[in-house]
Symmetry: C2
Subunit: 547 residues, 2 copies
């Protein structure tokens, strides 16, 4: 399947009345580089030369940047000699990607941004050309939206699809929408089915549907069955590119069959063994096949202990299975144990990275912020919510302090010292919280050992509470020369550290039981507890003992 072409899109109809040159100029002024290059490719070299000569110098240089090197040689003879010389000497054309080190990628970004700032698109194309799609994706994500869009237009159609698969969802969707529908369809045609499914899932549903219908009937059926599973299930992760063999045949037959296939799907480390009705019965590793005697039967060579993953398993279970059993790929089956696909480790690696990332980001209330250059307004809105939630916490703390206005009025030192109590509690609590969140994610913390863990955390907080209560109390005495303040401060620290350990332990467990991700809401709730308890204990004890 190559370049699937469908109807060219309605928005192009009115343009049919314009001349070729006008179309080029329109696209050039709109910054649609892909379209410019496509139009130029259909234009006679002499006509292109005439167009170039008719333009203002700046616009001429801009257009020259869009002309592919292979076509330059055919256009140059049609130009006046002085203009030809001038264009050939344009630094943007001959600038050999001056990236120097290359390796680290830092300089790629700098070189790319410099080329973009100067409008030297040819140089940008030269910088992008030798890069792996994953590196191009990284570069695109490191660019601000405007520059990202221009750089994206310079990525070859054959590679655009692969680049899309390496991007985070949000950026992927926005860049896919940048493409003409025909370019998008052509890019997608270079993708494996599971990547095409991912792409469809991140696109607006109408566009996704067009992408789906651009695939041939067999593929469409496979894609539709893959789309029927949630994105974060085994079915959503799988690819339909399994190679299936039967248990009764001999190794030599399998080898002959493979030779006929000529190519195996990427990351194939095993063939799947199925019965006549397509039920999974085992896996034949390539390493077992190549070391087998030719007359051995698949049934004797295959591994029966490679368990098939039910399509509705959660992606977390899949990740754990791959890690525990050091798998490279694994079969996926439906409820009737029929083989419907396989999951490969590259997708699992992405999954693991995303999972761990998410915990880190969620703890700062940055749930969806994959694009560091998302529009300011969008990011502001998302973060505002988090600040708003935190404001409730802050006002709760302020309300507690407000209860003791009279006390503070009489003893201002309390206002000076009270943030210390809240802060120490917050830090100690977040240590316990983080340990629990990670432990729950790794399965180290389970129903059977939470109580033992609480005892341990309380033990640690008693030791640290006593240590820091004494030190802080002494420092306060030195500062304010008042033993009473020191004693109350120390006592409040100890109380708050105990509460912090309890909250750091209890909050994530409670959230987990309620089906809420502990990483998302844990720290806000914890801080509320440590602030409120800290201020209340300190000011309350002061009111009782110091007035």
């Amino acid at each position: 399947m190559k370049a699937v072409k469908t109807e060219p899109g309605n928005e192009q109809k009115p343009q049919a009345t314009l001349t070729q040159s006008e179309l080029v100029l329109e696209a050039l002024n709109a910054g649609k580089n892909k379209r410019v290059r496509k139009l130029l490719a259909r234009m006679h070299p002499a006509k292109t030369a005439a167009l170039l000569e008719s333009l203002e110098p700046q616009q001429r240089l801009d257009l020259w940047q869009q002309i592919a090197p292979v076509r330059e040689a055919r256009i140059l003879p049609h130009l006046s000699q002085s203009l030809a010389l001038q264009l050939r000497n344009d630094p943007g054309e001959n600038g050999h990607a001056e990236d120097g080190t290359g390796e680290t990628g830092t300089s790629h970004l700098e070189a790319a941004r410099k080329a973009l700032a100067q409008g030297k698109l040819k140089r940008l194309g030269k910088i992008l050309h030798p890069l792996h799609p994953a590196k191009i994706a990284g570069l695109l994500e490191a660019l601000p939206p405007e520059e990202r869009r221009v750089a994206w237009s310079m990525v070859e159609t054959e590679r655009a699809g692969r680049v899309l698969t390496y991007l985070h969802d949000e950026i992927r969707a926005s860049l896919a929408l940048e493409l003409d529908i025909e370019d998008l369809l052509a890019s997608a045609s270079y993708l494996e089915l599971d990547d095409r499914v991912d792409l469809i899932q991140t696109l607006p549903s109408e566009l996704g549907q067009r992408l789906l219908h651009a695939s041939n009937a067999r593929q469409r059926q496979l894609i539709e069955s893959m789309l029927s599973y949630p994105e974060d299930s085994a079915g959503g992760l799988m690819n339909a590119d399994t190679i299936q063999v039967r248990a009764e045949v001999k190794a030599s037959t399998v080898l002959r069959y493979l030779r006929l296939l000529e190519n195996l799907p990427p990351q194939t480390d095993m063939l799947m063994v199925v019965d006549r009705k397509g039920h999974y019965i085992g896996a034949l590793r390539l390493s077992a096949l190549v070391t087998a005697e030719l007359d051995q039967q698949v049934a004797d060579l295959m591994h029966k202990d490679i368990a098939a993953i039910p399509a509705d398993s959660s992606s977390a279970d899949v990740a754990r299975l791959f890690q525990d059993q050091d798998l490279l790929s694994a079969p996926v089956v439906d409820e009737q144990n029929r083989l419907i696909g396989r999951i490969t480790i590259d997708d699992v690696v992405d999954l693991i990275r995303e999972e761990s990332d998410r915990a880190l980001m969620q703890m700062a209330g940055l749930d969806d912020e994959a694009d560091i250059f998302a529009p300011v307004l969008v990011s502001s809105k998302r973060r505002a919510i988090w600040l708003g939630i935190n404001l409730v916490t802050a006002f709760a703390a302020a309300w507690v302090i407000g209860l003791f206005e009279g006390t503070i009025q009489q003893l201002v030192a309390l206002a000076v010292l009270m943030p210390i109590v809240a802060s120490m509690g917050g830090i100690a609590g977040s240590q316990t919280l983080t340990l629990l969140i990670r432990g729950l994610a790794l399965g180290q913390v389970q129903k059977g050992n939470t109580r033992t863990l609480l005892r341990r955390e309380l033990g640690i907080s008693v030791l640290n509470g006593l240590l820091w209560a004494v030190i802080i109390a002494l420092l306060a005495v030195l500062w304010f020369g008042d033993w009473g303040i020191g004693a109350v401060l120390g006592a409040a620290i100890l109380v708050n550290l105990l509460c912090a350990a309890f909250a750091g332990w209890g909050v994530p467990l409670l959230l987990q039981r309620m089906g809420i991700d502990p990483a998302l809401a844990g720290s806000v709730i914890l801080t509320t507890v440590t602030d409120v308890v800290g201020f209340f204990a300190f000011l309350g004890l002061a009111t009782i003992f110091l007035l």
Copy 2:
């Protein structure tokens, strides 16, 4: 290579004068279950029976727990009938691992802890027996130290080595030290070389040396060369189990050679192609080999674009390479481009997980806390350091407040509201900080785009600063009925959010340039900034405008 035995260790000499039975009892009382079972295995069944009869009921049950099922049948006839009946009916013996659900692992932990609490070691053995080594490792990590030690003693020697490789470094070292030296050597003999190297690296050097010398000469040489690279380099990650072929030979020859090998190392997806002097020239994928015509030459089949990794590459580079190129394994070469090993994806997956974990843990100052049940004293000490660092921050904030004691005395409402300013700044700053830390780790943030990013973060903080300044000011006016307080509070919030964005952006970049991990120290420094600036701005503005 099976069970390597060396001298049995000095500590056993004085025991030579004790009788067999006394040795058993001594080991039983010391809780050395492995040793008990080893001694029992050498004892005549009749003698074991006599020993059982001579014991107190409780000790007798304990000893009975240690007797392997296969030996029970031979011992029972030598026991008095009543005793035989009593022991056979001991619930610990017949308790079929009552784990019910099994799948999730939760119940394994609960069942194991129940068995441990009741001293039913046989039942524990039955729970552990069907589990994958990775699951056993997970179970051990979820157990408190005492129970972990007992459960560990019930793991079969043949599987102990594999279990060790799945444990976190700290726990691995402590459990390896629990083993008799001969058991440790025997366990290690079942391991692949790279896992054996990992084990040697986590053990105290003396013990590591003994493990090294227990390997045969060729293995020792390989291990020593692998040990010569830092643990977190490509050389430290690699395994020496490459299969090498020459470029001139035909596919049929390679297949014949592989058949002679009978078994390929785990996770072999490609053979390495080398020249006569061992220089790496390409990789032959098994998937290419099985689809090749038999008379094709390796030179035509191999992939030349699979770049070899220099042994001194950092593990972070290795991880990125594997992810970007979807590799399953990759060749490792020395400075002369000689093939010295390969890295497999299972080790890379572990690496990725550990890396992401570390950022999360470090942000809470939990650098080394892999063992959720590390001794309370050890954990307290580690966390105390973090609390101490935070205390400096807290006192800096308190000092700033102290500067304005007079102001607070005149207007106590300031003391009530000031935590709100600090808290909102801290939250907004940590959002920027987290974004930067993750962006730096993923390579999204690079030298070429930091300034653009700063502009964006400042833009977001202006928008959110204005929004929340107005809201919070209005709330303060409602609360205290004073427009002045509201205005000052709003202004302080705006100032602090701007500083927070600047600090959240600048602190990680500065730390990175100084070679300090931003995740480790970033949040403490950031909080210091937002607290100090927040209190100073709020109380300072109040002093100027409200008094």
